[in-house]
């Protein structure tokens, strides 16, 4: 989490207007999910990976590691899709007989599984593109323009900020426990973990009070307003984004015989 955030602030696309990146990620995501076509999904994955690694300069190892994160869930889902059950043995590429039914892999189920696999990875790559190129403050700025209610945005901002504070606090407690052999045995580990959680909540509560006082001291009256950063829209970027997404859309619709 610290690392994703680090790249979001230091990548080569940091200076690009957040609305362009947000629009690009969201439109491409909708196309990938909505068109439901294997070529479009593969194209999405390729384009986004190119943008993340080549354009933004995220180390490819780190990006590949991120892509493998949802792989466990994904494969479980795929297994459920790839096997089909039938009373006749016809049409199976590979299968076996079990308790009176045939279980196996058909050409259709295999295609469907591959399609699902790439659709999910394609969609995930769109979100990673956004997360790895656009800091949260910039995303909030776009959402504010889209008239998302301020309360919701302020909550996002505070949660985001205090996740890190909480993580750091938890890290410190864990360190002080480990240095006193708090995690040396299983029993000790359970005891220490319970202590860590209880302590964390107590501190979080106390902290929230002090933070509230600090906000009041700076004239807080219920609105967390901050200055937004200046970004310039680039017509070149917008043209490229539109062209790429148009191509994807045409490609997908053509593949399904709609155009």
């Amino acid at each position: 989490m610290f690392k994703i955030d680090h790249f979001a602030y230091t990548n080569r696309l940091k200076a690009v207007h957040p609305a362009e990146k947000f629009g690009f990620a969201m439109i491409t995501l909708s196309l990938c999910v909505g068109l439901n076509s294997l070529p479009v999904s593969v194209a999405t994955l390729t384009i986004m990976s190119f943008a993340v690694v080549v354009l933004a300069g995220t180390p490819w190892r780190f990006y590949v590691k991120l892509l493998t994160l949802p792989l466990g869930f994904l494969l479980m889902g795929i297994v459920a899709v790839v096997f089909s059950v039938s009373s006749v043995a016809a049409g199976y590429l590979w299968g076996f007989h079990l308790a009176g039914v045939y279980v196996g892999v058909t050409e259709d189920s295999l295609y469907f599984a591959v399609q699902l696999f790439f659709k999910v990875l394609g969609a995930v790559s769109c979100l990673y593109f956004l997360a790895l190129t656009t800091p949260l403050t910039d995303i909030l700025q776009v959402l504010r323009k889209l008239r998302v209610p301020p309360l919701f945005l302020e909550l996002m901002m505070l949660i985001y900020r205090f996740i890190f504070v909480l993580l750091e606090t938890a890290g410190r407690i864990h360190l002080s426990q480990s240095s006193r052999w708090g995690y040396a045995t299983i029993t000790a580990s359970y005891r220490s973990l319970a202590g860590l959680i209880a302590n964390l909540f107590a501190r979080a509560y106390w902290r929230s009070q002090v933070s509230f006082h600090a906000l009041l001291s700076r004239g807080y009256t219920g609105r967390l307003e901050v200055l937004e950063s200046d970004y310039r829209l680039s017509w070149k970027n917008i043209t490229v984004i539109t062209a790429v997404d148009m191509l994807l859309a045409v490609f997908g619709l053509y593949g399904r015989g709609i155009i």
Partner: protein, 284 residues
């Protein structure tokens, strides 16, 4: 000439759990001065500070700002908080925004300044605290010393008359310590009133114009650093050590290596100066 910008009179305050944090405090802060509240942990320093800007409301007693008793309505509190800024002890509880620039802009925007004015205030505060290069950095990727400076910039951007620092040098490494103390000097030179809490007697001794000693929610002594640190009984009751400068000076005097000077040395350099005199005396 001496104008009291903040005063509290016979202040009592109890927390919900029954802790009596303040038990009849009376004191005054002079405009343009560097005042230190000295006291051990739990003496009531932080609690008192939150009375200075009306976040806490006393159970008994009054708080006055520029001679006027604090009223707890929105208009008065707004004016009060514009003029009395507090830099909190732990920057992690103060910083709420995701990046430095936005963080500092919060105060100025609350003062009702225009975007343009607020932007200027932020730029100026960043320049004064030497953090302009951190402007787009996320707050959670800063070092502790950097966070501290952002916390100070937060308040500077609001340009208050009085700036209160709650234990500004706690947890800082020596380099950041020096930077923060130098920054405090700069801020005071602009004519702002500074109030600082600490239990660091060396800092209090060399930096303060005036010291107020707190213990268990009461004022147990006040005066110039010389008066405070020559008063052994006071130091004893408040559980405070002597500054090393005073300690060394007393030893040298006791051993007869130096003559008593009119004023106690307030810095390393002044002490060396006293020692220098001894040499010329003995060789003569």
């Amino acid at each position: 000439m001496t104008e009291k910008i903040l005063e509290v009179e016979d202040l009592y305050f109890k927390y919900e759990d029954g802790t009596e944090a303040l038990r009849g405090i009376t004191l005054a802060i002079e405009r343009g001065k560097k005042t230190i509240l000295l006291g051990a942990n739990g003496a009531g320093k932080s609690t008192l500070f939150l009375h200075f800007n009306g976040v806490y409301r006393p159970e008994r007693g009054v708080v006055r700002f520029q001679g006027e008793p604090v009223k707890y309505n929105n208009a008065f509190l707004k004016k009060l908080r514009k003029n009395v800024g507090i830099v909190f002890q732990d920057p992690d509880t103060q910083l709420f925004s995701a990046n430095v620039f936005q963080e500092i802009s919060f105060g100025p925007l609350n003062l009702g300044l225009s975007q343009e004015e607020a932007r200027q205030r932020v730029e100026q505060a960043m320049a004064e605290t030497g953090i302009t290069h951190l402007r787009d950095r996320p707050t959670h990727l800063l070092s502790y010393g950097e966070k501290k400076r952002v916390a100070i910039a937060d308040i500077l951007a609001m340009q208050p008359e009085v700036i209160i620092f709650d234990e500004p040098t706690a947890w800082l490494d020596p380099a950041s310590h020096r930077q923060v103390v130098a920054l405090l000097e700069d801020i005071n030179r602009q004519g702002r009133t500074l109030v600082l809490s600490t239990h660091d007697v060396d800092l209090a001794y060399s930096w303060a114009d005036y010291i107020i000693v707190l213990k268990e929610g009461r004022v147990v002594g006040e005066g110039t650093p010389e008066i405070i640190f020559r008063n052994d009984t006071l130091l004893e009751t408040a559980g405070l050590a002597k500054p090393w400068l005073v300690e060394v000076y007393d030893q040298l005097l006791h051993k007869g290596w130096i003559r008593e000077t009119e004023q106690l040395p307030r810095s390393k350099e002044e002490l060396f100066h006293v020692l220098g005199h001894r040499k010329t005396v003995s060789f003569a």
